[in-house]
Amino acid sequence: MATNQEVLLEVHDMVKTFGVTVALNHVDFVVKRGEIRGLIGENGSGKSTVSSIISGIQKPTSGTMTYKGKPWAPASTLEAQDNGICMIVQEAGTIPGIPVADNIFLGHEKMFSRGPLVNHPKMVREAQKLLDSLGIELDASERTDRLSMQQCKLVEIAKGMYWDPEIFIVDETTTALSQSGRMLLYKIMHEITARGKAVLFISHDLEELIEQCDAVTVLRDGKIIGSLDKDEFDPDVMKKMMVGREVKGDYFRNDYDPYSDEVVLKADCITTRRDLMCFDLELHKGEILGIGGLSECGMHTVGKALFGAEKILDGQVTVGPDRVVVKDPETAIRNSIGYTSKDRDHESLGLSGSIRDNIASTGYYVNRLFGPIISFRKEKNYVAKEISDLSLKCASQYHGVNTLSGGNKQKVVFGKWIGADSRILILDCPTRGIDIGVKAAMYQLIYQFKKEGRSILLISEELQELIGMSDRILIMKDGQVTKEVLRTENPTENDLIEYMI
């Protein structure tokens, strides 16, 4: 890669504000031909904002852009797309109810139309050609809502690639992709940069960026902290730039503290409507039990079943020394179990409510003044304690949860269950979509819980996390445990992967 490549896009002194919040604070940077430039930063750093402005999703408050030597101020994503800048995002970018081909050519149906009618078979053929050329194994006539999340992402990638973009922006897309999907994406990225195009790659995953990028720019709080070329890459340095302070190299645990023999939560040959058939599990006091596997292996159902939120057809879940049967969330909570769902926004939180509404929801009983009357002061303190203990960044506890970043949202969820002093915590993908600084804090917290004698069931799709945090790991496949390994055996990712697939 030549060091003085042609500059494709330049961003000058860009500022973006939302009301009182400053998302971009006089940002300058360039994108050169033939390079994969990574963009990394914590939540709120501005990395997605800058890419959304470049790709026409929103307009800057002030500042200018130059693209291929001319001023660039796209009015819409379609205009950006027509001019060779395409972006694929973290959330769903496809419309469910229509076929893949329609999604690929969304907005450009005129290409296949004669008069008012659209030649749909032709559209499908063209789409299929595209998918095949990219190595994506999908049927272009398939309805998009029948596809998995990864497949939808691949459709989006194809959609962006059809126009042979000059700049291809990939925003946090890899979290939705499995190994095979990622490999495909990396292949495409390298291919197009070899042809002189550019890629702007935004991700949380430091390892990934270090592996794939030619250069990385670090943002923090809306400002560019610095850029590193490939030969300067160093994960610790980058972490420090992102967070602004020293972040310990291993931010998981580094102890081998034991756990008790006492069984606090037990699944006794439980069969659920789907995924599980005569599944057994024992969680011990003071243990961090990790469960890993592919997304569809059934581990998420285990979490729900142990909380009483999944209908159990046969067998039972029992909790505590008295072996109380957990048949619904109410019983579970009464026996000091807490549960955080993978679908944070829809199941663990009431988004339209305030932070107080959510955290205080477990404290209606303890915050009473007398009889059934609740003390406002007690409630306020109940919430304030969690906010301060968890370092929750918010303007006030009365603000809506939907104004918070992912990490802070998860802190609200934690606050809810810790406030309730849950002795058993079932955490399903607790650090999904959260950036490094907050993740580190959460891992510390989880370790803290263990030391306090709480028991934790950690369900996660990130093997590194499981390996780093668990006392014991169960790997699941097709509703069964295929491997059990202890922390003391020092497992590695390679050891475990074969049991998952």
Partner: protein
């Protein structure tokens, strides 16, 4: 300037105070335009009394609306209960019996509605659409072609003793405490915020919905008694507009139509009084009935838009 405005809009007291403030403004305006006749104590009392039935039934309905559900049959229920209670009075000549029948029948009718929704797994809204017709037909069937007439001395004695006002105030205090000061109200609101999340927090929707309906049923029973006192006669047209008036009052009074955090018990009375103030005030300044309807419609829409407007939040995508 813009920042201050934004901060005001986001303040949690703003949404709560918007409707009462609007009501106050309206009252002041009418007072000015009628040279003080509007704020004559007798007139103000009259206006309040006109709003009492709607206010009572709507106050009870707040419990249902807080869970994010809509009950469109409150008026039909009130008419039916009023019919039953009136007959009970005529049969027994006892005020106490009338009260008891009203309360019991009200709670029972609405409890059945809740159970139907839960058992059939049909949304509350659709069940109540059916109930609206069902209860109305039931009332017509019981009433037949006659009108139930309650002796005038009885109803005027109660009216002069301010019984409707005391009933309402008692119910209001009860509801405020139950809704804003206990876990029950908070659970209802949490269900309105996100019912899936609420279930996972241990709040069984079926149970709390049932209880909310029972409270609303009490409101209906009380409203039925007040209808008897105010009207003196029960016909098939009784409480005809209450179905809509109930919902309108709640929303006009500042509560969100979707329930959740922005649910307040006081919305009912504020909304109900706003409607009657409008009617009374506009008639006093000489607006004809025809134009009155149009003006009412316009003001409703304005208030609705204002109360539903949410401050612009940050984009959902992080960064």
């Amino acid at each position: 300037m813009k920042a201050t405005f934004a901060r005001i809009m986001e303040n949690r007291w703003f949404s709560r105070m918007l409707s009462p403030m609007f009501l106050l403004l309206l009252a002041l305006l009418f007072s000015l335009l009628t040279g003080g006749r509007f704020s004559n104590p007798r007139n103000l009392r009259m206006v309040l009394e006109q709003a009492l039935v709607v206010a009572t039934v709507a106050t009870g309905a707040v419990f249902i609306f807080a869970t994010g559900n809509v009950n469109i049959s409150m008026g039909a229920a009130t008419a039916l209960i009023a019919t039953l209670a009136a007959q009970a009075y005529l049969a027994s000549n006892s005020l106490a019996v009338m009260f008891l029948v009203a309360l019991a029948a009200g709670a029972f009718t609405l409890a059945v509605t809740a159970l139907l929704s839960t058992a059939l797994h049909v949304r509350v809204l659709y069940i109540t659409v059916v109930m609206m017709t069902l209860l109305s037909s039931l009332q017509k069937g019981i009433l037949g072609s006659s009108t139930i007439q309650i002796p005038y001395e009885f109803t005027s004695a109660l009216k002069n003793a301010n019984v409707p006002l005391y009933i309402f105030l008692g119910f209001l205090v009860f509801c405020i405490i139950l809704f804003h000061f206990t876990g029950f109200g908070r659970k209802l609101r949490y269900i309105g915020i996100n019912d899936v999340c609420a279930e996972l927090t241990g709040f069984k929707k079926s149970r709390y919905l049932f209880l909310a309906f029972v409270v609303a049923g009490i409101g209906v029973g009380l409203g039925a008694v007040m209808t008897i006192i105010r009207n003196g006669s029960i016909t098939t047209d009784t409480a005809a507009s209450l179905n809509m008036d109930c919902m309108l009052a709640i929303v006009l009074g500042g509560m969100s139509a979707f329930g959740g955090s922005r649910s307040y018990v006081h919305s009912a009375i504020i909304g109900a009084v706003t409607v009657t103030v409008l009617n009374n005030g506009l008639l006093m300044i000489g607006v004809s009935s025809m134009i009155l309807q149009a003006i009412r419609g316009v003001i409703f829409i304005i208030l609705l838009v204002l109360s539903q407007k949410r401050p612009k939040g940050l984009p959902s995508q992080e960064g």
